[in-house]
Amino acid sequence: MELSFRRSILILIKFMKLILALFFLFFPFFALCQISGKVQDAETGEWLSGVRIYVNNQKSTVQSNSYGFFSINAKLSDTLNFYSVGYKRLQYVLDAKDFKTKDIVNIYKLPQEEIKLDEVTVLANRQELFNKSEMSKLSLSLADIKSIPMILGEKDPIKALQFLPGIQEISEGSASLSVRGGSADQNLMILDDATVYNANHLFGFFSTFNADPIIKIDAYKGAYPAQYGGRLSSIIDVKMREGNKKEFSVEGGIGLISSRLLLEGPLKTDKASFLIAARRTYADQLILPFQSEREKTAYHFGDINIKLNTTLNSKNTLHLSSYAGKDRFYQKNKIPRRESFLLNDVNLDWSNITLTTRWNKIYNDRLFHNASLVYSQYDMNFGESTDQDYLDPSRFESLSLNSGIRDFSSKIDYEYFLSNAVQIKWGGILTQHYFRPREFSYESSRGLDPIVNNSIRSSNLEGAVYGNISGDFSKIFYKLGARISYFENLNKPQLEPRFVIGYNVIHSQSLSISYARMNQFLHLISNTGNGLPTDVLIPSTVNLPRGRSDIIGFSYTHHFNSTWNFVFDSYYKWIKGNIAYRNGASFLGIGTGAGNEPFEWEDNLVQGQSWNYGYEFLIQKSKGRFTGFAGYTLAWSISQFDELNDGKPFYNNQDRRHILETSLVYQLRDRMKLSTNFIFASGNALTVADGVFFTKDKFSDYLELYSGFNRFRAENTHRLDLGLNLKSKKNNSSWDFSIYNVYFRKNPYQYTSREVLNSVDRTKTVFIARQWLLPIIPSVTYNFKLR
């Protein structure tokens, strides 16, 4: 839906009128007094988001926002109830001082809950059940992430999401996600408001996110809140911990491939805190001594997270968070030639940097404001140089190929707690993108060779304004919102309506429907989808317009008690303007333009449409000796491109019909925890040669013959992982043992065509070979914590 600027403003005004109308509709709630405050962890002093707060005699519930702030209607002597998984239920009786301290924000402290094996399940009140208007949202806490056994013991928040329905790995072992049939570039990865463009380490096998400094990860598969936009399939919002405001502590771990360390503590008790978390792989340091002088090859990755927080006064808080991560692969050859050497160096590195500064302000009992300045950067550098000192005159040759993106964003968000049942959010974001899809330079001592410095750059402004109103009543709950987004190359603003409307059937059961539209103004050129560093980000252009998705969803939730949840989701998602690669396109070396030829990405890409639909079932047990979740997905993902497959629809690469995932944890003893993952996924659709043909009889080479696009079905993927966590008596250290792929299933990574030659009867055949990567992998990690 393309709009003129004037028309979009008119629509926005109409939308604001609607919000005002709803404001007055629910005006009676103002009869009570307003109490506001912030909820914090009693032990660490960190602000807690998502805490459900309700007054004893009222049916509606409010929820603390991302910074722990809430506002609720209540009167003197009312009892406030605070409830959050992992914390003891807090009951607080309001007295006169709570209503007098207008200049001071009330702080409510929630003590952490200890796991007891003889725990009795307590039935939750209806108000304590999770927010129903946030359908198609999946959340994992740090505890969830750490309890899931992972390959090589590396706790990975993004890979943990792959055990939830609707979210799957792109290929075996990959940290890249496909959400509801979408491709990896259709997911927006945010770390404390900053976009992380290439969220992968080790060529896509690990995500960039170190689990230690992460407090929560929210994945939106549909029904996207209006404050999010810019991607077609999902929003992955990762939030960092703030750091302990009470006491200094150190924790870390020593694993098979990496070690990690986290330091946190107060800069000023209860006022300011810091957190620094770092990790690095050391395989390169271990193998280097065993390599010859002639050839040295190594790889490592490392990252660091920093967070600083300070409370200026009871109503103003500043946050600063930053992430920097880098992968580096290099090869150095030193080959003796005559009395000198031939030196050949190859270097490939890629890095992400983010920096977010946030200012929270509480204006009054109802209005909360957050302003952010955000910087985000992704760079990839490839270089190769050769020195031939033994020649006279000596020769040299060097080339470099770089790409990247830099973003400067400013963002403002307001939250208004209109009543216990109704909340309004609005705000805007402005981002200046600097794309650097390709920089190529070549230098040589040979006179005839050209010296080239070929650079393609583009800067584009992206902006959006949004408004959102949500309500939660005894029978009905809703979330109505809209976002107007703008991208410089395309001129016309785009309207993105969003809504969720639900109905509480009976106590603890609800039905809801949702609709959301999203636009994506960036395209990722990646032929593998595995998150390789050579992937290139390019902006939408007139010839390669933005992608647009529309998703409708239906959800049924049943909370059996505070322990068991069942969620059924069905969805139907249309995407227009998604990209694919033209028949025969090549992206090795980034684009077709080797050397100084123009880099014409538009010529390599085609745009089409896709349909993704399916059903998702999730059953979750969140308390007790035995916890975990199991999910089943039945899904279809189909695309159609005029230039591919004769214009006929075909199954997408990520089309997997059945996916079954479980992640279970069993607390065997107070200090011993067993965990297991099992995953089964039907084979995905691939384009693999079905045969060969010839253009001459006496011609040993052949051309490949395909019966269609993505007609080949890969074998089913399944795997079992086991984990064992043993804690020390003082609870200050632990051992994690894990076995990845316990029964050594050789799951397909990809399929390639191979030749077999029979030299006796001079015959040849071409067959399709399965390539697998990950065998059974045991690992051990030692974790420690010092206070």
């Binding site: 039905l511 429907i513 032929n527 593998t528 050579t534 239906f554 049924y556 069905s570 139907y572 690669y581 033209r582 028949n583 025969g584 396109a585 090549s586 992206f587 090795l588 349909w611 639909y613 059903y615 279809w636 189909i638 006929k648 629809p649 075909f650 384009t687 693999v688 040669a689 079905d690 045969g691 060969v692 043909f693 010839f694 253009t695 001459k696 009889d697 006496k698 080479d701 052949y702 051309l703 490949e704 013959l705 395909y706 019966s707 269609g708 696009f709 007609r711 990809q750 390639t752 065509s753 030659l757 029979n758 009867d761 001079r762 015959t763 040849k764 055949t765 071409v766 067959f767 399709i768």
Partner: protein, 272 residues
């Protein structure tokens, strides 16, 4: 619960996007490229091999018992199998003419394979400018004219005569697409091409340069480009490339029945 069932049913109904069921690969392959300048017309008819099926490296891919004919508006030419080349051959003898339509028909057992090509018009390559400067740098500029209805793909290739001491700086062969129509270049029903430039360095007093203008029919050009891309690939590079899927313009088979013509200009140049 009733609402749930209704919604599931609705989703299932709107969810029906048809994907065509799997089809067997065609059993035959055909390769025939017509050029009026050739003295022999050649048609290769072979069989295809499924993955996992063994084929002889030396021979045995051709099918010898097919009935092959090529016809134009007025004449039908029966093409016979030649055992030495393992192809169906016939003398051209003026049968192939630029600008004419040709139909291929192959009967193998119960199957009939049919193809069609329009041999492109022979364009007239014209010299705009040719010079060798005093510092031995040479440049040739050429252009041609085409009919507005002509959809052929043009490609210029410059080559130097080995007898002359000429070093080509680069070949002018950028054209992989149809020339765009430009109002400025229009004259009635004819479009003039932009100038094609061929640069070289000549250390001798004279230079012999040949410029060829190839004009391909669309199907052959597509096949030829894909063939080049496929053959240049390595096992490693394939991991980063989309598959090369050949289109067939011969029914019930995989292959190509295409055509092209070449217009040449031989230029002898003297240093100023």
């Amino acid at each position: 619960m009733r609402l749930l069932i209704v919604f599931l049913t609705l989703c299932s109904m709107i969810g029906c996007v048809k994907v065509e069921p799997f089809k067997e690969i065609p059993a035959y392959s055909v390769y025939s490229i017509l050029n009026p300048a050739d003295s022999i017309i050649s048609v290769f008819v072979g069989r295809t091999f499924r993955t996992g099926e063994f084929f002889s490296i030396d021979s045995g891919k051709a099918i010898a018992n097919a009935r092959v004919e090529i016809r134009n508006k007025s004449t039908t030419k029966i093409i016979e199998f030649d055992n030495s080349s393992k192809s169906y051959l016939a003398n051209n003898s003026g049968f192939l003419r630029a600008g004419e339509e040709y139909y291929l028909s192959i009967e193998i057992e119960d199957e009939i394979l049919e193809g069609y090509t329009l041999i492109p018009e022979l364009p007239t390559l014209k010299l705009d400018q040719a010079e060798i400067t005093a510092n031995s740098e040479g440049q040739i500029q050429v252009f041609w004219e085409k009919s507005k209805l002509d959809n052929s793909i043009y490609r210029l290739v410059g080559s130097v005569d080995l007898r002359s001491n000429v070093f080509a700086l680069f070949y002018w062969d950028q054209d992989e697409g149809v020339w765009e129509t430009s109002d400025k270049l229009n004259s009635s029903n004819v479009i003039k091409s932009p100038l094609g430039s061929f640069n070289f360095v000549s250390s001798s007093k004279e230079a012999f340069v040949k410029i060829d203008l190839f004009s391909f029919d669309e199907n052959y050009d597509d096949f030829r480009k894909k063939e080049n891309v496929f053959q240049l690939r390595s096992d490693f590079s394939r991991l980063f490339e989309s598959p090369v899927i050949f289109n067939s313009n011969v029914s019930n088979s995989i292959g190509i029945f295409g055509s092209y013509v070449v217009s040449s200009l031989n230029i002898k140049m003297m240093k100023e």
